[in-house]
């Protein structure tokens, strides 16, 4: 099986699950489709030979974020198809905007395509976990630490927000 075939299969899975995520009536189904979508994107990362990112992606998205979303859905008891019928106008607007965005972005990239040079391997190792770790902890040391602070703040904020408020009489 050539790489191209694998790519096409993965891309088809990605797009299809992504689309299903968007149009599923039931939020639980959406979430499941989204997990699949994330796994396929992880597959793309593996195709790029970016093992570290693939692992982090699976852990963070499929592991952490999706679990969080599923928990929330269940907490709110939303696994019902209770979404009200949308008006034709809003559906039409959404479709038109989607088409417009799609068209514009494709046009932009097609216009930019001649300037993108072809791949030429230099033979250097640039994306092994070892190299990435060095880059991350040398050049990007400070942002890395800031990320930890960001996550801490987000955690505190989330706890604070979702805490049951004391009823003020």
């Amino acid at each position: 099986m050539s790489l191209l075939t694998i790519f096409y299969i993965l891309a088809a899975v990605t797009l299809a699950t992504g689309f299903m995520t968007v149009i599923s009536k039931n939020p639980i189904h959406s979430a499941i489709y989204l997990v699949l979508c994330f796994f396929s994107i992880g597959g793309h990362y593996l195709l790029f030979n970016a093992q570290f990112l693939a692992l982090v992606h699976i852990i963070v998205y499929a592991g952490a974020i999706m679990v969080l979303i599923l928990f929330t859905i269940m907490l709110m008891n939303l696994n019902k198809e209770n979404e009200p019928i949308k008006s034709i106008a809003s559906v039409l607007a959404a479709v038109v905007a989607f088409a417009l965005l799609c068209f514009v972005m494709l046009a932009v990239f097609i216009k930019a395509m001649p300037q993108i040079e072809n791949y030429q391997s230099s033979g250097q190792d640039y994306q092994s976990i070892k190299v990435l770790g060095k880059v991350l902890l040398n050049e990007y040391m400070v942002p890395f630490e800031f990320v930890s602070i960001l996550l801490l703040v987000a955690m505190i904020g989330a706890v604070l927000l979702s805490k049951k408020q004391k009823t003020v009489e």
Binding site: N49, I65, M76, E83, P84, V91, A94, L136, L151, A158
Partner: protein
């Protein structure tokens, strides 16, 4: 091992990313359920991440991947806070339909 971009070409990844991004945008516009809008936003973020990794590979530069790493961290934080807000909204209004949230009306 043969590099993926020699076999597939960068343009395919660009098309994939654009389409994924537009699916996400469509979801945000089409749905009224806040959680599904959240998921759509995650899809858009992932489309961008994917493109970043593709170009990182094209230029054989680790910085693109480092950037993806940071954007994942931001996404995680965003989801945590966003879901907390959603929970709080749900507690207060009993619904997460964004059409019901019109308090900011001018």
């Amino acid at each position: 091992m043969e590099n993926i971009l020699q076999a597939i070409g960068i343009e395919n990844y660009i098309f994939l990313s654009v389409m994924l991004f537009c699916i996400g945008a469509f979801g945000v516009l089409y749905r009224r359920n806040a959680i599904i809008m959240f998921m759509s936003i995650e899809i858009m973020l992932n489309a961008v991440n994917l493109l970043l990794v593709a170009f990182s590979t094209l230029h054989q530069d680790a910085e693109g991947q480092v950037f993806v790493f940071f954007s994942m961290a931001v996404a995680a934080a965003e989801v945590a806070v966003g879901l907390a807000i959603l929970v709080s909204i749900f507690r207060n209004t009993g619904s997460i339909d964004i059409d019901n949230l019109k308090n900011l009306k001018g």
